[in-house]
Symmetry: C2
Subunit: 410 residues, 2 copies
């Protein structure tokens, strides 16, 4: 338990956690067609050049550019049309001086030709002769071999999150399978004697499970797979047994703790029994979220979230999300959308603590305003009503009404 019970600033706490995780990224091969939003786990190198043949970018005539030099409407160049290059086939004509061949956009430039004259810049004289009304330079309206990608060129690096156009680009080169990071599986346990499943009518003093579903959503957005482990009573033996099974089945474990002090200590005890080094951080200087537990057991991250829904969501965003990206080989998690807005009310804070404040973003007279959604941190609907979070930094006393703030949108 090297750093047990140190209350650390969020950035330091995250660093401690990440530094204890293995560097190796688990990877699997998937069909490129199914690889959207997955994280690339290999360096991709072009296996061939693209295009593989010189292509026309216009409908028109493939020509030798030199034959068109000086051509104009008043002094056209005369060329004889010796054939047509059909789409999707090699050319069976060769262009000699003063010859041309019909080509279509995307079609092969026949041997001998080095440019294409747009059809609109020509005039047909008869069945086999045309006038060229404007000169073309060598290479004009032609994509040369390898102009898009050259064989051996580096395409994409490990850690890149695959976008729609990346899939298209890989398919263009016949790379129909790619190695991507496996989705980290996250076992999620909710604890608390008062917690019942959402489909159960709560008895007196009981509440429905919220955190499993909120955390599962954050896991999915970070590329992971949530493995909900149900609700566990506040008992060391019960929690240890479910936690052990969850950790075995998954790549990471989240325990959304009961909210009272005793159950928080229970979580820390359980984490320390799951494997070395156990609890690394117990307490983070963040509001909400101070009673956060960060640990590593059996080389897997284990995160104890505060039980109340807002704290659990903020803390999962601060620690679980970057950990899941790191497990996929991404050091800088994809940024959330941000907007800059003016603050509608003063927010007090305390130096030495990062405060995360839920805000609604509203437009007034053409300006964006960040309107804090105040509420006790136990209220899940403050988060439902909010559009995003603003962070009051560690060293700040607060932010004043009218100041510009940056809001990370949900």
């Amino acid at each position: 338990m090297p750093e047990l019970f140190n209350v650390l600033p969020p950035a330091s706490a995250l660093k401690v956690l990440l530094d204890h995780l293995p560097v190796r990224v688990r990877a699997e091969s998937v069909s490129t067609a199914e690889a959207l939003d997955r994280v690339l786990a290999e360096s991709l190198i072009a296996p061939s050049s693209l295009p593989a043949f010189p292509r026309s970018t216009m409908d028109g005539y493939a020509v030798r550019a030199a034959d068109t030099f000086g051509a104009s409407e008043s002094l056209p160049a005369y060329l004889s049309v010796v054939g047509e290059v059909p789409m999707g086939r090699a050319s069976d004509v060769k262009i000699e001086p003063t010859q041309a061949a019909v080509v279509y956009t995307g079609g092969v430039i026949p041997p001998g030709a080095d440019a294409v004259v747009m059809i609109e810049r020509t005039q047909k004289l008869d069945a086999t002769n045309i006038e060229v009304l404007r000169a073309v330079a060598p290479g004009e309206n032609v994509i040369s071999v390898g102009e898009d990608v050259k064989v051996g060129e580096a395409l994409l690096a490990p850690g890149h999150v695959l976008r729609p156009q990346d899939l298209g680009g890989l398919m263009a080169l016949g790379m129909t399978r790619v190695k991507v990071a496996t989705r980290p599986r996250v076992a999620i346990i909710s604890t608390g004697d008062e917690v019942v499943p959402p489909d159960v009518e709560p008895g007196p003093g009981q509440v429905r499970n919220v955190n499993t579903y909120t955390v599962a959503g954050l896991v999915a957005h970070a590329g992971g797979l949530a493995l909900p482990q149900g609700i566990v009573r506040d008992s060391f033996d019960a929690l240890l047994s479910v936690a052990r099974a969850g950790l075995d089945a998954a790549d990471a474990l989240v325990i959304a703790a009961g909210s009272s002090v005793s159950t928080r200590d229970l979580t820390a005890d359980v984490v320390n029994h799951l494997g070395k080094p156990g609890v690394l951080v117990h307490g983070v200087s963040v509001k909400p979220g101070k009673p956060t537990i960060l640990g590593v057991c059996q080389d897997k991250p284990v995160i104890g979230l505060p039980g109340n829904p807002v704290s659990a969501t903020v803390v999962a965003g601060l620690f679980l999300v970057p950990v899941l990206w790191r497990l996929q080989g991404v050091d800088e998690p994809p940024d959330r959308r941000r907007v800059t807005a003016k603050l509608t009310h003063n927010i007090a804070s305390v130096p030495g603590r990062e405060d995360y404040v839920q805000v609604k973003v509203v437009e007034r007279d053409g300006e964006l305003w960040a309107d804090p959604v105040f509420g006790k941190s136990n209220l899940i609907y403050t988060m439902v009503k909010a559009d995003g979070l603003l962070c009051v930094p560690l060293d700040s006393n607060g932010v004043h009404e009218g100041e510009w703030v940056e809001v990370s949108l949900f």
Copy 2:
């Protein structure tokens, strides 16, 4: 064919298309646990209040606030502890004047009590008596019934895209199923005699299919389901038959056209044969993407994309993406992430046309710069290398080096 062959500005073209679509949103009931990122298709009203009982936000003692008035370290209030409220159960004690009961965070406030004193603000005298070292106000450290949500309160409106905390909020109220818009199914056809599937080694003059996969990725990001219909030769009968089957099986049809003029006309002919009103817009004043076809057949949107990959991606982003959101009842599609950056090179444009320019976003001396990735629009890897698009507006002559521009990130 009411507006056939009018070249329209992108915003007008989109409006024509949307105005011809039915307003009705198709909906289905899904498990709330599976509803992440789905679009809500009903108004949600709280079926009960949250919390359903007054809850403590602290570990401590439930008291009558009046009994603590004036209490301080030097002059504590003396209370007798008459019991403990266990988590997840009703209280079997009632608090009379000068009495207190042990409560835990999230536990029930027993009848008679109206506030909670934190345990840290008390001192134990003996087994049943405590000193209260600080006064509490009525309601302090208590969440009252309905403080989070009141029964009958409007929660979320149709068109809302469900976020992690929304799922948690619904679960808290036992709303384990929700009505969401069905995912629009999008049939995607690639045409062109030169196009072969990605797993085929292209022969001379052949290229692999790119657009099906790029468009499928955009469809997935917009909440839709891509139904790839393969590659169709440049023949009216073949295209009509595959397009008809695709449109029957789907809620929208995309034809990524062959690139030559003749195949574009083919697409328009086919769209006009699929049903009324057929082609609505043929040609949009956008670069790349001028030969775009927008139509509605059998009340379903049909979009003819230009064949080259960059144009196809830009046009799908401009028209297909907002159409798919609209089919799910979302009028303002979720914004892409944007950054503001300085332009590294002059970009020329022509008034009367919107230009979309691919840029890489790079940091130099702490400033963000948008560096145009120039390249013929047929080059798929310009898009792979780019981080986003900047739009040169309809009425602009271009943008100068050093000007601030807004980049929509991919």
